[in-house]
């Protein structure tokens, strides 16, 4: 019963997206959630002294400690090869840390069962840097897949896919094969798939690398919308300064596996977020 109410609410919120798209001009940044007081609230994701070394000797993360709170938007920056993707893979359990502790929603990832990982992944949407789409399936099928694994009703799937595609300006590509899209279109499909399940945590790895400024804005608006309405926590790994240049959201910077606040940030802001 609860399930259906939940579905119904989802339908409601998605159907209003198209309208809301005009209601949120890109410069309007009222949606910023201030993080809660670190001492009272349990973070959604917590990394404690995490080190990841790819054999034999590539240090992709070194002693990284990071807390990501529910409802936050976090930008991860860093030069190419700094370890952004590695950090994201660690959070969604695609890689295991060499040392250190990772907790997602209070569960220690090193002790979680295989089935537990899968249940967790259903609630985390990841837009991979290399998309990981199935080239021989249509856009619709690719996005629907993310919802099918949670046994969502076909009607809801259809409905939500349409909304997401409209939101990302891809409506005319719904029945095209993913392999026949342009890279920028594929990138948006990957994002739509990550957002399809209404995840509580969205990890977007370089989500605008192949997008022009207009499409980039669509994506940013989608993030902001998910964050405000759903309280979705969003982590964006990116090089695109235009996205995070003058945002009020937290920006962290990785350099050779070491995490620090972004240099352009004011020091007091840094203290607010560091554990």
């Amino acid at each position: 019963m609860l399930y259906f109410i939940n579905n119904y609410c989802n339908i409601m919120y998605y159907s209003s997206l198209a309208a809301i798209r005009r209601a949120f001009p890109p410069s309007d940044k009222k949606g910023f959630h201030m993080p809660r007081d670190a001492s009272t609230e349990k973070p959604l994701v917590e990394l404690v002294n995490v080190t990841k070394i790819y054999p034999p000797d590539v240090v992709a993360a070194e002693d990284v400690s990071l807390r990501i709170y529910k409802g936050e938007i976090l930008f991860l920056t860093g030069t190419s090869g700094a370890g952004k993707t590695t950090l994201i893979k660690l959070i969604c359990c695609l890689e295991t840390p060499t040392r250190g502790l990772i907790e997602v929603a209070g569960r220690n990832l090193s002790r979680i069962s295989s089935a537990g990982v899968q249940r967790m992944r259903q609630k985390i949407g990841v837009a991979y840097q290399d998309f990981r789409l199935l080239d021989k399936q249509t856009v619709l099928q690719n996005i629907a897949m993310a919802m099918e694994v949670t046994y969502a009703s076909p009607k809801l799937i259809r409905f939500r896919v349409e909304e997401l595609l409209e939101l990302l300006n891809l409506s005319d590509k719904r029945d095209k094969l993913a392999g026949e899209l342009s890279r920028g279109e594929q990138q948006r499909v990957a994002l739509a798939r990550a957002a399809a399940n209404g995840p509580s945590l969205l990890l977007a790895d370089e989500p605008t690398g192949n997008l022009d400024p207009v499409a980039t804005e669509l994506v940013i608006n989608l993030f902001r919308y998910l964050n405000e309405r759903n309280g979705t926590t969003i982590v964006v790994a990116t090089h695109d300064e235009s996205i995070y240049a003058d945002t009020e959201y937290r920006v962290m910077s990785l350099s050779k596996g070491q995490l620090s606040a972004h240099p352009s940030r004011a020091p007091h802001q840094i203290e607010l977020f560091e554990a």
């Binding site: 295989s114 990981r132 789409l133 099918e148 694994v149 046994y151």
Partner: protein, 295 residues
């Protein structure tokens, strides 16, 4: 409910999307079942034929004079002491002549010139079925020659040896073919599994990334495997049955060839083959996705 619907829909989708591979797999299963059942059939019939052959073995001891009625038990005892025997029949000159002329039927005029005494008396010894090996038979026949008045022992060993030679050759051919076929089938099956893995790899990886549970991934594949096993083995057995019918019709020779009559599997074995191939196919499809499911 919804869960079941999903599993079934997913199975249908898989079958539709990869029908090329599916048909190849189906044919592989059909072929495997056909081949194994084929050689199994040949093997069981060969065993039965050699059993029947055992029934036919008969040693005839030709004597240079008749054995009087009262001596017979003594002869019998001597023979039975040497080897277990099913039946011993004493044939006198007259009986032998009567038998021959009965066998000749219309052509018995040939015998007219010869007196009823021209055939020697004999003892027919029918050994137990356990005595089905050529060297044992020839030992037995050597022994029988030591009986008093025994002139010659006809052990049918010439015919037996030819037949034995043939069944041996046939057995070697059958076993070698079966060996080669088993190697081939191993190849085919490993190739099929590799191709299945390759054709599914992308999709299974993405499903894992999206948080699909083992049940969501495994059950459709299990259903598929069962379907493949059922259809494939039914087709294979049907093909074998047609072959069998064809051979049976072609070789329905005259009565004396009953020795080689071939028969099909009884229903239990047919069912066993069906079941085994269903189990194997299911196991195979699980095996092919093993590397995608974390333990």
């Amino acid at each position: 409910m919804r869960f079941l619907a999903y599993i079934l829909r997913q199975t249908g989708k898989n079958l539709r999307q990869t029908w090329g591979t599916q048909i190849m797999t189906l044919l592989t299963v059909t072929l495997s079942v056909l081949i194994f059942a084929f050689f199994f059939l040949i093997y069981t019939n060969m065993i039965r034929a050699s059993e029947r052959l055992g029934n036919d073995v008969r040693l005839i001891v030709y004597l240079d004079q008749e054995v009087p009625e009262q001596m017979r038990p003594e002869f019998e005892k001597k023979i039975r002491d040497f080897a277990p025997v099913e039946k011993i029949v004493f044939v006198s000159r007259t009986e032998a002549f009567a038998k021959l002329s009965a066998q000749l039927g219309k052509e018995k005029d040939v015998l007219n010139d010869l007196g009823p005494d021209f055939l020697p008396p004999s003892i027919e010894v029918y050994p137990l079925k356990t005595l089905n090996d050529l060297t044992k038979i020839s030992q037995f026949s050597d022994f029988l020659l030591t009986l008093p008045h025994a002139a010659k022992v006809q052990s049918g060993s010439d015919w037996l040896r030819r037949f034995g030679y043939f069944t041996n050759l046939l057995r070697v051919v059958v076993l070698l073919s079966a060996g080669l076929l088993i190697i081939s089938m191993t190849f085919i099956i490993s190739y099929t599994l590799r191709l299945t893995v390759l054709s599914r790899q992308g999709e299974l990886e993405v499903l894992r990334l999206l948080g699909a549970t083992s049940a969501y991934i495994r059950l459709p594949l299990l259903l598929e495997g069962m379907l493949q096993g059922l259809l494939g083995s039914s087709l294979g057995l049907a093909a074998l049955y047609s072959l069998y019918q064809w051979i049976a019709n072609r070789f329905s020779g005259p009565g004396f060839l009953k020795l080689f009559d071939i028969t099909f599997f009884p229903p239990e074995i047919t069912a066993g083959i069906l079941l085994t191939s269903i189990v194997l196919c299911t196991a195979g499809s699980l095996f092919s996705i093993r590397r995608f499911i974390r333990i």
